[in-house]
């Protein structure tokens, strides 16, 4: 702009200023003002705004929604990792997560190893449920079916690999599977037996306590009632002799009854011992399946005497598990 009047006008406007006093006053009041930290208050409409803005934007919609799905499903997978057969997430674990992981293993050896790990996992789940006292018929059935499935897949894969020829790595996998199955079969049985014993002891203690209470309640301890040819004496208020004969039991009769009671107890204990022996022989279904799977796969070693000996040792003494593995590795390396 070249207008002189406009320029002059602008210069005159620029003369509009605060006084020095006003300037100083403002400056000092600003420096002396206490600083207050404002906390951010999140809008209550934030969620609504986020959802509507995402739904309106197509690009964001195609990115955000899949992202939410992935994060949620990741969370479900993570949560289902440690679920047991009595949990709601267990079907997701065995029906979705594990098959997906299996599909991502490409070599047959890796697949065999994976099935072996799954079988071991099933055994550990059974043990955990047994410890918690939740190993009922339905859970047992679930685990059994899965265990048999894993064992069959494992055996099938091993047989396919065997067609190509002997392999050190495969032998190791098989031995590992056998030792794990037998070890966990025994552990599971031990847990179940221990639980039953605890339960029995509890019941016995309760019985003992109730018997003692009854004894205390009945001063005559029923001795008179158990006497043969017991006849209640005829009472006469004046006859002191008759009263004495009723209130004081004879010592001989009491002793006889005590002996009989002890005999009964011995008989009961003998029966219990017999029942206990039967229970030790009776194995849990899952443990049975595990041992049978181990036996089945052990067939591949039937022509090798050395392996058969070691295999029998495992059956007898599960403590040799780690020692056997090390021994086997050393021999194969030789």
């Amino acid at each position: 702009m070249n207008d002189k009047e406009i320029k002059k006008g602008i210069e005159e406007i620029k003369n509009i200023k605060m006084t020095a006093g006003e300037k100083q006053q403002i400056f000092e009041s600003i420096l002396n003002t206490p600083t207050v930290e404002h906390t951010k208050i999140r809008s209550p409409w934030f969620t609504h705004f986020f959802i509507t803005s995402v739904s309106k934007s197509r690009l964001a919609y195609y990115v955000v929604v899949p992202l939410i799905v992935i994060i949620t499903s990741g969370g479900v997978v993570f949560a289902s990792e440690k679920s047991l057969p009595d949990s709601a997430l267990y079907p997701i674990k065995v029906g979705v997560v594990e098959p997906v992981r299996e599909a991502l293993t490409f070599s047959k050896t890796a697949k065999a190893s994976y099935e072996s790990n799954l079988a071991t996992k099933r055994m550990i789940e059974a043990e955990t449920l047994a410890i918690k006292g939740k190993l009922d018929t339905s859970n047992e059935e679930k685990i059994n079916i899965l265990l048999e499935k894993h064992s069959e897949k494992f055996t099938k894969t091993i047989n396919e690999i065997d067609k190509k020829g002997p392999s050190k790595q495969v032998d190791e996998i098989v031995v590992n599977f056998q030792t794990e199955m037998n070890f966990h079969a025994k552990t599971l049985n031990d847990v179940i037996v221990a639980k039953k014993e605890v339960k029995k002891n509890k019941e016995e203690n309760e019985d003992k306590e109730s018997k003692e209470e009854i004894k205390k309640a009945l001063p005559i301890s029923g001795a008179y009632l158990k006497q043969e040819n017991f006849k209640p004496a005829s009472f006469s208020a004046t006859s002191e002799e008759s009263l004495e004969s009723v209130s004081e039991p004879s010592i001989e009769i009491e002793k006889k009854l005590e002996i009989e009671a002890e005999v009964e107890e011995v008989e009961v204990v003998e029966v219990e011992v017999e029942e206990g022996e039967e229970e030790v022989e009776e194995e849990n279904e899952i443990s049975k399946s595990a041992r049978m799977s181990a036996d089945r796969i052990g067939e591949r070693f039937k022509n090798n005497e050395k392996y058969r000996e070691d295999y029998r040792e495992i059956r007898k003494n599960e403590d040799k598990k780690s020692r056997f593995n090390n021994k086997y590795k050393e021999k194969r390396e030789d």
Binding site: E12, K17, E22, F27, T33
Partner: protein
């Protein structure tokens, strides 16, 4: 650390306080109110400096704060919907909003005839063109800085400045003066 911030603040304050005061006075037409808004503007600048927030353009920043405070003041003064404050047709026929004459009686000694005339003519411009013309020619702000203050692009600012100049020249008597 605080001393450095205080030094920086003093420098900015000494340089820009009169511009902000002038800007506020022309908009609110009340000296006391203009001083209050100026104080509030620089208080916010001080608080931002203390928080060590990054400010790319200090001039544009403080003019933006002042502009928003002026709009808030108008909203409190009159209960008018905010969208109407930005409306180009706002203030048409309503003289009570801009009364530069009454508010600047103290400064009459400092403003000459040409200054008062120019202010009057600026106030008569279309509202959309008024601020860009004032900020460009009186306060020497660039179109980019004016765009940041008003929330429009630099190109839009240039267009409005040109339109404002056309108005000044053709409709407000400056053309006649030039032709003379």
């Amino acid at each position: 650390m605080k001393e450095d911030i205080q030094y920086t603040f003093k420098k900015i304050y000494d340089k820009e306080s009169d511009s902000i005061f002038r800007f506020c006075l022309l908009r609110v037409s009340d000296r006391e109110q203009a001083i209050d808004i100026t104080q509030e503007t620089f208080l916010r600048l001080w608080q931002n400096l203390l928080k060590e927030k990054e400010i790319n353009n200090t001039r544009a920043f403080i003019f933006t704060i002042a502009s928003h405070l002026i709009i808030d003041w108008y909203r409190k003064k009159k209960s008018i919907p905010f969208k109407d404050m930005k409306n180009e047709d706002y203030n048409d026929g309503d003289e009570s909003d801009y009364e530069p004459g009454d508010g600047m009686t103290i400064d009459n000694a400092l403003i000459g005839v040409e200054g008062r005339y120019f202010i009057d003519k600026i106030n008569e411009l279309t509202p959309a063109n008024r601020d860009p013309v004032y900020l460009r020619f009186v306060e020497d702000l660039s179109p980019g800085e004016i765009g940041k203050i008003l929330g429009i692009s630099a190109n839009a600012v240039s267009v409005r400045i040109n339109r404002g100049l056309v108005e000044l020249r053709e409709n407000r008597g400056y053309n006649k003066v030039e032709n003379k």
